[in-house]
Symmetry: C2
Subunit: 221 residues, 2 copies
């Protein structure tokens, strides 16, 4: 294995271990020792890539905005729904996403290592802006405002799902959230064509995996 490839793998192993520890314990209670232990790398290897716990948190926050499940659709609003529904499907299974959610909501820590919230809001804002340019969105909608409402609503919905059902009902709660917000956003002719069913996320993920020639890492493992 080439040296560069080995470095990429080490970095990834460290990030995944850090994500698992941050997702379980939160930032304050996480220790470099436990991350080293989980990653199975030397202290020197970890510090070569990340010079502090804060740098690890920043790495996790940057990592999670993966777009491998973004499939272009005829309707931009369907792409927005798909982003939310695939996230709902993946979140309970992927420590990298769980860690990003937990770190972003850390009121003490976010001043130190930042937050994924601005990136999430920007993603929604840009999809809605594109949807608006195509006439899919009602004229009075302000994409940035809707992005902020949806950011808050999504954070709360996933938190309630975690608290009351250990995320088991997240797909249903996210589907219901879209059904409650889309009528305020989508043009009527677009609204009726959107698929917001609870299993939408699972179907999109299956579709992407089937299409993909290079097999994707199994998120369930």
């Amino acid at each position: 294995m080439a040296q560069q490839e080995r470095a990429v793998r080490t970095r990834r192993a460290v990030l995944e271990a850090a994500a698992a520890v941050f997702a379980e314990r939160g930032y304050a209670a996480a220790t470099i020792a436990e991350i080293l232990n989980r990653a199975g790398v030397t202290k020197g290897a970890l510090y070569f890539h990340f010079d502090s716990k804060a740098a690890l948190a920043q790495g996790v926050l940057q990592e999670q905005i993966a777009t491998e499940y973004c499939v272009p659709r005829e309707l931009k609003l369907q792409e927005w729904v798909d982003a939310g529904m695939t996230l709902a499907e993946r979140l309970p299974r992927e420590p990298m996403l769980l860690a990003a959610v937990r770190l972003s909501a850390d009121l003490q820590g976010r001043d130190v290592f930042g937050s994924a919230w601005p990136a999430w809001a920007e993603l929604t804002g840009s999809v809605l802006t594109a949807a608006k340019e195509r006439g899919e969105v009602l004229p009075h909608v302000v994409p940035e405002e809707t992005a902020q409402v949806f950011l808050g609503a999504w954070i709360g919905v996933q938190f309630v799902s975690q608290a009351v059902a250990d995320w088991a009902d997240l797909d249903h709660r996210m589907s219901a959230l879209f059904n409650h917000v889309l009528p305020a956003i989508a043009a009527p002719a677009v609204l009726v064509r959107l698929d917001t069913a609870p299993d939408r996320g699972a179907r999109v993920i299956a579709e992407v995996r089937q299409r993909s020639t290079v097999p994707l890492a199994d998120a369930n493992s």
Copy 2:
């Protein structure tokens, strides 16, 4: 002062001190010693009313569903909006409400002392059911489902407002949330008559205080 009246005042003083400490530090970090200190009562007086820290948390959670700002309106949906908007106005200023929000979101503690979430969801559910009976609500709306969506959305929106603006924009964020959810719920003729302006909460509170012959405790003090 009669003995009973003194007991009621002591109980209230203890609850308010407990709420302030829970709101600031969370349940795990709160100590009976600090609550005693803030309340200015004896240990015996506190334990006469509450036999544990968990009992104090339960007391705070029961206390906060005060309905002094519920004014009957022609439209039941306006009463729902008013409940949300007055809550948004009061939350940053009232430790009892802040404590209830924080305790209810305590993933470890809520098994011990419960959560205000079910009571909040029930409140929304019952108002929406009444609104539906009067034909204010679209026929496909399921009040319990909307109550769950709104519970999650409201929790997230207030959390984001706390994190990014120390609650200073909560009235605007709550107003935007209602504007994004009501089109999925309200009959069109009702929708156009609802007042969801950011200052709605402040206006309702001012109205109630002016009407009230017995002066209410100043929530800002």
